[in-house]
Structures are given as C-alpha cells and as structure tokens.
Amino acid sequence: MNSEYLQQITRRHFLKEAGLGLGTLALGSLWGCSSGGNKNYFNAANPLQTKAPQFPGKAKSIIYLHMAGAPSQLELFDYKPALQQLDGQDCPPSLLEGKKFAFIRGVPKMLGPQAKFKQHGHSGAWISDNLPHLSTVADEITFLKAVQTDQFNHAPAQLLMHTGGPRLGRPSMGAWVTYGLGSENNNLPGFVVLTSGGKNPDAGKSVWGSGFLPSVYQGVQCRSEGDPVLFINDPQGITRDDRKASIEAINEINQQHYKEVGDPEILSRIAQYEMAYRMQIAVPDVMNINNEPKYIHEMYGTNPGKESFANNVLLARKLVEKGVRFVQLFDWGWDSHGTESNLAIDIGLINKCRQTDKAVTALLLDLKQRGLLEETLVIWGGEFGRTPMAENREGKKNPFLGRDHHTEAFTIWMAGGGIKKGFSYGETDEIGYSAINGKTNVFDIQATILNQLGFNHEQFTYEFQGRPFRLTDVHGKVINEIIA
C-alpha cells in the first residue's frame, strides 16, 4: 500500500466505512440468526418478482373497497324491524353503561332504520332500497354481519383495518401481500391506491404505507384525473431517449458503488429506476379509461376526466386484469353523523349509495364475465359501524338524522376469490347493537384475506427489531365458515 493511497484515507473515510461495515455486520447477523425459516425473503435486485405463496391460494389479487367514514349497516344490510318500534324512545341505560362513544353524550334517542329492506336473490339476503343494483348480485356475495373492532375514531380504526395496529408504523395489508407474492406484471406497481370523495382517508398515507417492510412495497397512489402518477411524464424538453440515457448513466454509477460496498439496497434502487422507466409507458396506458368501450362506461357509470369512485372501480378492474396484486380504493363521505345534510343518514348516505352502487355491481359482474372473479377477492366495508341510537352531539340533537361511530357490530362483505356465494355469516341482536353470534373482528378478516392468497397469517412474518412481526400481530382466526 503506497503512502499516497493512505493519505487519501481520512478519518472521515474511516468513520464512514466503519459505520457501513458495522451496519452490514449487524444486518448479516440479523439475517443469519433468525430462527426457524422465518427469514425475510426478497430479491433485492428485483423485489417485485413473483414469489410462491405458502400453499396454493384461491385468489391472486385483491380489490379492497374501503368506504371511509364508515357506512351505516342499519340502512344497508342489517335489517332491524324491532329498532323501528323503538324509534324516538330514550336509549335504555343498559346500552350506555360503561360504554364510550365518539360524540354521543347523555341519553340519546333510538333511531329506526331509515331505509326500506327487502330480501334478494336465492340466498334471501336483506339489502335496503339504497342499493338497488347490488341487490341484483346478492347471490355472488358473502355478508359478514357481526364484525367488531376496538377503535371508535376514524384514523386509528382505519389503521387497524389496514395495518393490524391502531398506531402508525406497521405495514399495510397491501404491502404485506406485495412483499409475499410480488407482482405478476413487471411494468406496473404491485400495490395501487385510488381515492375519491374529495379527501384522503383520515389516517393519511400510512394506511397504505410499507411500515418496516422495504419501501418498495408501499402502495402507489394513482389519480383518476390529470397524470395518473404525479411527475410520471418527462419534463418539457426531455425526450424519452434522454430519459433513458440518464437512467442508464445513474444505474451505471450505482452499479459501481454496489461493487464497492455490496449493499443490496443499491440493487433495489437500480431496479426502481428501471421500473419507473417502464412504468412511464405502462401506467398511463392502463390508467386511461378513455379507450374502454362505451358499454363499459355505461355499465360502471363513469365520469371520465373527473375524480370519481366509478372511474376508480373501473381502473381497479383494469389493473387487476393486468396483474396488479392489490388495488385499494378509499371513498370518503360515509360519516353519517347528521351534522349537515350530506352527512345525513337519509340524505347524504343515500347520495353516497347512488354514487357507488352501480359501479360496485358492475365490478362484480365485469370481473365475473372476464373469468377474474374466481381469482380476485373483492372486499367492501368501512372502518366500523354506526349506532342504533341517533347522534346527539354533546347532548344536543343534531340538525339532521345521523348515527355515531359504533364498534360492536357492523357489516362487511366479500365476493369472489374462493369465498362462498350468496351467504351470510354472523348475527346482531334485534336492534343491531351487539354481535350475538358468528362474531368476527378486523384480524379475522385480515387472516382470511391472507388465507385466500395462500398464506397462513401466523406463519407469514417479517423479522424486524429482533422479532418476527405479522399482519395480525397475535390475533386473528381464518373465518372458515365463509370459505367456499
């Protein structure tokens, strides 16, 4: 070693290398020592490469339709004629003792169902006249009518639903699934998020975050108007060839750096650049609903050029068709407190139903005729349910009819992906306040979704901070009763 070279190695250089070296050592020991075959497994050079599930899964993709704000089960699926009898009466103290509500104070009045119900299909599912379209496909659906959660505020409840924990920091379901299975299409992200209703979910982007999983697994939020992904187009004056040349140059430098230090994150970075380049072509193409035929637009009830739930639903179908693993939709506006008319159970809720009913129904039928429903699991639901009592905010009557947040029983439905058709599981008491049998919770739903994709939720783990983590933490049971 000549002295010239030694002079170049400064103290700063030493600290940098030592830090990296120690880090790599620590990383090596973390990987090497994890016990029992639960090692984190992904190919850093191609982190979205498809991977085999633990056992053959029935579903290949997920479309999760989250009605943010929490729709009222009592006006949609959970028919309670007995509640009508009690309409306007004081809520009995037994239902209030020891309970906490987000807004209800004092003694609220009971509120009867604000919709007409009928049984539909061979399965005889109770669906209200708020959902005239969905009623026609009742026989494709399994309703879970006694779902419970333990968070009564939007943000924590949404986080719990999608990440398995009410606090920030855990990976979302879509991130877990993309980590576990990769993406079938090399040119598209594995996990796409679409929002509508004029607002992002309360919990923010953490509901589709990657938590402690490598960041490549986080959801990619696409927009249904303007550029589908921000900054996806080359800036003015830059041609595609220029872009290609610059990416190649950057990757070459990164490649050299990788040879020096051997950090797999660099390979991941190179792969990301290459994928971004391919996505520039593929994403605008798949995200463009204008080249869909007219009858499809009529079927979904889309509004091209505007932000709309129907557009997002059509996009979801297109994405799944192209091999995207997890499509997450959030539609804001279901928080029917009755504080204003568009949050009224008999006005705003009905309008939300009208905005979404046709598209959701079209989605199920369209997936079906394309042979995709068998391998795509569709989930519809909110983050909790709504109370059988009318909301009296801070003890005062609200200007419109509304219901408060309710954690003890609400309805979620699933269709396709190896779930029973025309089935209902779980039951609430005669006023829809508590679940009385077939109780399920958020973790059970997560466990069931993973099961349909070919994962045992108890064995699907990621080593982090010295212990294996799971989506369902220490909870959850697969809801075997609803599996076909």
Partner: protein, 463 residues
C-alpha cells in the same frame, strides 16, 4: 425442611438400583460357591449382604418420602412400598443372621431366593410407577398386531372417525399418559380417561369449557420449550406440529369425547388446522411432478415471463406472459421442457393464435388456461381438446364459435368456461350448455341498467 425431605425423596430413583445390584450379587455369590465348590471368603459375602441390606433401607426411606408427593397411583404405591420395606427387612435379618453364624447353608439359599422374588416384584412395581403399568408388556401385546399406520387425513372419512377416541386419545397416550396416567399422576393429573381430563389436576381444570382458548392444557403445550411449565417436559419426546394442531383444534371446538369429526369441524377447518390444504379446490394435482430445470425458469424470468411455483416447495408452476404479451408467441416455444410442471398458464392479451396449439397441447398437466383476448379460434381449440386435466378455460374475446367449443365435451373435468365476447351465437348457448352438462359456462354480456336515481341527488328539505 419439607424441601430437604423432597430432595431426599428424589434420590430414590437413583438409590433403588443399589440394593437391586448388590443383593443380586450376594445371591449370585451364595449360589456360586455352592455349584463351583469353591469357597467364597465369608467376609466378602458378609460385606455384600450388609451393603445390600443398608442400601435397601436407604431406598425404602427415600421411597417413602417420594410417595408422599402423591403424584402416583395409590394402589401401586402401596404395594411397592410394602414389598420394598419387606426387601429391606428381609435382607437386614438375613445379614444379621449370617453375620452371627445363626443360619444354615440351606436356609441361607432358601431365603436368598425369597429375597430375589421380593426384589423382582418391588422392582417391577417401581418401574410401573415410573414408566406406566403396561410399559414392559406393551411390545409383547403388539406381536401379531398390524402396526397402526399414522392417520392419513387426506383420505380419512370424517363421518366415520370419532375425534376423541380415534385421533386425540392416541396422541395423549403417546405423549402424556406416561406421566399423567394410571401409574404416575404428575401434578395429580390424569389424561387417560375423559372423566379425569375434565377433572383436571393440582392447578385446577386443564380444559375450560367456557373459555376454550384459555385452558391450562392448551396454555402449557404452547409455551416455549424454555419455559419450565412447558409440556411435555423438554427432555421428553415433544408433540409434533400436527399433533399440536389437532389438540388445539379439538380443545377450541369444545373438546367433545364422542362425536364424529364431521360433527365437530368441517373438512376445511381440519385442513387449515393441519396446514394441509384442499388442493383440489385450486386445481393442483395430488401427485408431485418431476423436478424441474430452475436454470431454464430463471432464464425465462429474465426475459420477462412470470413463473412461480404454485406453493413454496412445489414443482408445479404457474406461468404468465402478462408483462411480455408481444413476445409470447416466440417465448412459448421455450416452455416445453417444463410441460410436466406447468399447471396454470395465462396468455391473456397476448399476440398468439392457433399456431401455438401444437406447443400448447404438450402441456397435458394444465388445469387452468387463460387464452382471453387472443386470436385463438376453433382450429386451435380442437387441437387442445386433448388437455383432459383442464378445470378452467378462459376463451373470452377469442374467435371461437359453437363448432369449436362443442368439441370441449372431451374435457370431462372442465368446471368453468368463459365465452364472453366470442363468435358464439346467442341462439346456440342453450344447446352448448346441454352438451357441456357439467361445465359452468359464463357467456357474460351482463348489464347494469341505469336507474333514474343513479344520476339524481337527494336534496335536503327547504326550510
């Protein structure tokens, strides 16, 4: 003091071997000197008898202490105790007589035979306490009996198999009963009979009928092996993953002692508890395919073909050309070496036509095939109607007609057929369905009519 006594009690299993060995030696010496006509030094015999007698006393005392812990079957303990005490007394008396020359040679031999008998009896009962009463005879009882094979849950008739007697009892007998049975009752717990299982042990019930997830039994078998409360104790043979899963399933479903399995859990619940999955439902053949050329697989992945095993560790593959639809017609020619392995094939939206059917029909294991939105037509369809394993076939958006599709009658396993946007006449649908009786055909063309309410809003009442 009690702890010290308990400690002495636990010396018993070690000390018992001394009188057995030493007294046996003494007996051998007595007879040896007789037959071989060789004089054994009197002092040697005296010492051996003495040592035997004292060790027998020590064993009896420690044994008495151990029996007071109460973990053992009372009847056997009682017999073992008195036989043990008689061994100690008899050997002590014999030694004293011998030492003081008060015993004749013949009587000496006779009494040594008596002690031998007592020794064997005591030893056997002691062993019964430790290892279970049928420990010795168990292998003999198995003679002539066909070995019971492990239960094959894949072929098991759930309507004819009782959960407890046929599945759970054998597990408990194999793993638990040697310490929690008739002979030994550690922690005052027996797991050999339903009534004892329900009764529980020293720390209360082991199965909580009300809180099925919380019973002591379930708790202890799930503890970490490092935990001192873990059962079975870490030095003993452990429950297998399957046995653990079965026990858990049985307990959490209400620990019923008489019902058939089908009366307690569904096939699906059983399968998912055992981690075995109903592969038929997702069209995976039961038999494992030949190993495959991973180099070829990786080469194809580099070219953009998506290839994945259908499950970790399986050699069956799922292949998709979704990222490279334009190159599919060329790349598919590289697949035939994997023809025994590929069971799911997706060619959706690819620029392929009937020309690929000679390649396609080599994939005789295919159960799922998606040819939607390709230029496939009747000609190709007729060629691939030999793919007899097909369960799901997607022909949406292809050029197939009634003439071609009706040839699929040879596909007896075909369950799902998608014919949306094909050249099939609406008038032929019924005829086709009557030909393909066992197939669910989806012709699509669903519509969701626009209702007046879809485009109007409910307005709040004017005040």
């Amino acid at each position: 003091m009690t702890h010290l006594l308990e400690f002495f009690g636990r010396l018993h299993p070690m000390l018992v071997h001394l009188p057995i060995g030493i007294l046996l030696l003494a007996i051998v010496l007595i007879f040896f000197s007789e037959f071989k006509k060789k004089k054994i030094s009197r002092s040697v015999l005296n010492f051996t008898l003495g040592a035997g007698a004292w060790s027998a006393m020590a064993s009896a005392l420690t044994g008495f202490q151990l029996s007071r812990t109460g973990d053992y079957d009372e009847v056997i303990v009682w017999r073992h105790q008195w036989l043990g005490i008689s061994v100690a007394i008899a050997s002590l008396v014999l030694w004293l007589l011998f030492q003081n020359r008060l015993i004749k040679r013949r009587l000496l031999k006779l009494s040594s035979v008596l002690i031998l008998a007592l020794l064997v009896g005591t030893g056997h009962l002691g062993a019964s306490l430790t290892h279970g009463s049928d420990y010795l005879t168990e292998p003999l009882l198995e003679i002539g009996k066909a070995e019971t094979p492990p239960i094959d849950f894949a072929t098991l008739d759930l309507n004819k198999t009782q959960f407890y007697p046929d599945v759970i009892k054998p597990i408990l007998e194999k793993r638990c009963v040697s310490c929690h049975g008739e002979g030994k009752q550690k922690g005052k717990l027996r797991l050999d009979q339903p009534e004892y299982i329900l009764k529980g042990g020293k720390s209360g019930k082991v199965i909580e009928p009300e809180k099925q997830d919380e019973g002591e039994l379930l708790y202890r078998i799930h503890l970490s092996l490092k935990d001192k409360d873990h059962m079975p104790p870490k030095e003993k043979p452990q429950l297998t993953v399957q046995e653990l899963a079965l026990l858990r399933l049985w307990i959490t479903t209400g620990s019923d002692f008489s019902k058939m399995i089908s009366g307690i859990v569904s096939k699906h619940q059983l399968d998912s508890a055992l981690g075995s999955h109903d592969n038929q439902a997702v069209y995976v053949p039961v038999s494992e395919p030949p190993s495959l050329d991973w180099n070829l697989v990786n080469a194809l992945i580099t070219k953009g073909v998506s290839i994945t095993a259908v499950a970790q560790g399986s050699n069956y593959l799922s292949v998709s050309f979704i990222s490279v639809p334009k190159e599919a017609s060329k790349l598919i020619d590289e697949l035939p070496p994997l023809r025994q392995n590929i069971i799911w094939l997706t060619l959706s939206d690819c620029n392929v036509n009937d020309d690929i059917s000679p390649v396609l029909k080599q994939f005789t294991k295919l159960t799922r095939l998606s040819l939607d939105n390709t230029n496939f037509s009747d000609k190709g369809l007729t060629e691939i109607s030999s793919l007899s394993e097909l369960v799901s076939l997607n022909l949406k958006g292809t050029k197939v007609t009634f003439e071609g599709v009706k040839n699929l009658v040879t596909l007896t396993k075909l369950q799902d057929l998608y014919l949306y946007q094909t050249k099939l006449e609406a008038a032929d649908r019924q005829t086709l369905q009557s030909i393909l009786k066992n197939t669910k055909i989806d012709f699509g063309d669903y519509a969701v009519p626009t209702l007046p309410t879809d485009t109007t809003e409910v307005k709040p009442p004017k005040r």
